[in-house]
Symmetry: C2
Subunit: 378 residues, 2 copies
Amino acid sequence: MINFSINKNLFLQALNTTKRAISHKNAIPILSTVKIDVTNEGITLIGSNGQISIENFISIKNENAGLLVTSSGSILLEATFFINVVSSLPDITLDFKEIDQKQIVLTSGKSEITLKGKDADQYPRIQEISASNPLVLETSVLKNIINETAFAASTQESRPILTGVHFVLTENKNLKTVATDSHRMSQKQIILEKNGDNFDVVIPSRSLREFSAVFTDDIETVEIYFTNNQLLFRSENISFYTRLLEGNYPDTDRLIPTDFNNIITFDTNNLRYAMERARLLSNATQNGTVKLEIINGVVSAHVNSPEVGRVNEEIDTESISGQDLTISFNPTYLIDSLKAIDSEKVTISFISAVRPFTLVPNDDTENFIQLITPVRTN
Amino acid sequence: MINFSINKNLFLQALNTTKRAISHKNAIPILSTVKIDVTNEGITLIGSNGQISIENFISIKNENAGLLVTSSGSILLEATFFINVVSSLPDITLDFKEIDQKQIVLTSGKSEITLKGKDADQYPRIQEISASNPLVLETSVLKNIINETAFAASTQESRPILTGVHFVLTENKNLKTVATDSHRMSQKQIILEKNGDNFDVVIPSRSLREFSAVFTDDIETVEIYFTNNQLLFRSENISFYTRLLEGNYPDTDRLIPTDFNNIITFDTNNLRYAMERARLLSNATQNGTVKLEIINGVVSAHVNSPEVGRVNEEIDTESISGQDLTISFNPTYLIDSLKAIDSEKVTISFISAVRPFTLVPNDDTENFIQLITPVRTN
């Protein structure tokens, strides 16, 4: 029966990381528990919601953990409640001891708390991925890619494949990632430093956001393993499994236009704040759009809500070319796009009032492109 | 028609203070607006939810306001929306100009936003209180009193009078404040530095919490004016009106016991954290109580939830007198009480397992007393 002592704060941190895969109200009740596996090498905390699974290992060699294992074993504990109890313990150290009938006793300072657990055999098996030839990426690079694309994925289940981000590796080094909800699209390309096996997968955008939360900045690199329907992100102590989306991702290359009539460079934040003002009013209009007018080289934004009021605003440009144009679109799409751009300047290129326009950051004009579809208002 | 310019940040701060009296979903739609009264002396922002009303004055003499009034008048604007719009403006200064048909134009930088307002005549009149002989209190003193008592008021409307805090001034200088929800009670007494007219009022605890949020720490003193059914807290720029509760407040003096069998002094935080641990488990029990055992001078806390588990904990004492006792109560009441106590040490005095026990902070044993009623568990 399990018996170990550990530093409370480190244990709590690992529990909270694992909990990101655990939902309190899961249709499968056993998935609201955290599985605690104790061996002579350390403790593994396991959580899963059926879509993503996290295994978090605390080694006896981790000096910050102060982990001392006297006896090994496995048990399930209701995750939220267990975490609340651990976080309330008075002392810096806690003793975790399994007693009869799947009960555990936590002792810390003068406090002694007994909790009822469940048999670890009830927990579903997390699919093992045979570890061979992983793709290795810097965590910060992968998190940037996610930040630049995942927001453009669909949140509607009507076309499930669009709720994911398309990751494609070709020529063993060209990684292309694309997300689209059919109104807007974001595509980022990078060239890998180390070659890898080619792949073509669609990763749920929700899993990618959880990945970004779980893999903190102190984890420098991440290994990525694939199977048919699962993917594993792995660092020294964390294994993060996610299901992949099944189906064919639409061909997005053909959507990207190349010939433009108007090319305008803006200050990224300046344009974003103007769109945020416009959105306050456009939310109260029937079609929710802002109208951008380009007249004699001057760009202005307009919203007219018969009930609430109107916005008229001239927007400074850094450079501008092309003829007059009036185009309407949902300002939220443009705000989301601009938020994903780190560059101080952004260049937007238009074809006409009814064709998608593109955004590229001025500091990376080749590899990062976004598309937004306008709304016909007449 | 109104015309003024003002510093955006100061205007926004004043709007947000006023908004504390404005509820977005008021049964009376006009109360979701903020009233803006502009005179040659300055701007008054007025908000009300029918229970409390706030008038916030920005003087042309306030140097931080940079207020320049060119033309006076009054208008109503939907509060939440107007505040969002003001906060989105690009420049540090904004111009506010009324045009035809109760419309206003906000200009800031290159942004021009037109909003539809309403006729100020539609706004209900806030009862004026004839200003004579106010009670003057230090804001920090009044906020401390509120912090020490208001939490104990009832949140149930079954006995409306108990949702308030009873403020009584006798002998022109003895101020007694009491709140009780019939399960616990908190009473604070102070002696005023300046004499005032005697009064006996019941102030809604919700109004008092809003008062504490509105009267920031930079406001040193507050004047208090009374009428039959209203009370006004006033500082140089803010008038905060609240309705009073009607009816007779129960006689609470007779509830306070004087003879005790067990007197124990605890470290306040130590006891509080032990109760917070106990509550985690007691929430999962039928009667939600913790059992305190005093045996041979040792105090321990116990909760036993057949479904979840149990807590057993010895609690350190600073001093202890009296015989053995076992008493059960809702740990939330004790946690709330301990949170209201600033003192490092707290003394709890018991009569028996079925009589209320008292808490007094060790640094103010005379003027601040709390009462908690135990729960009979057998």
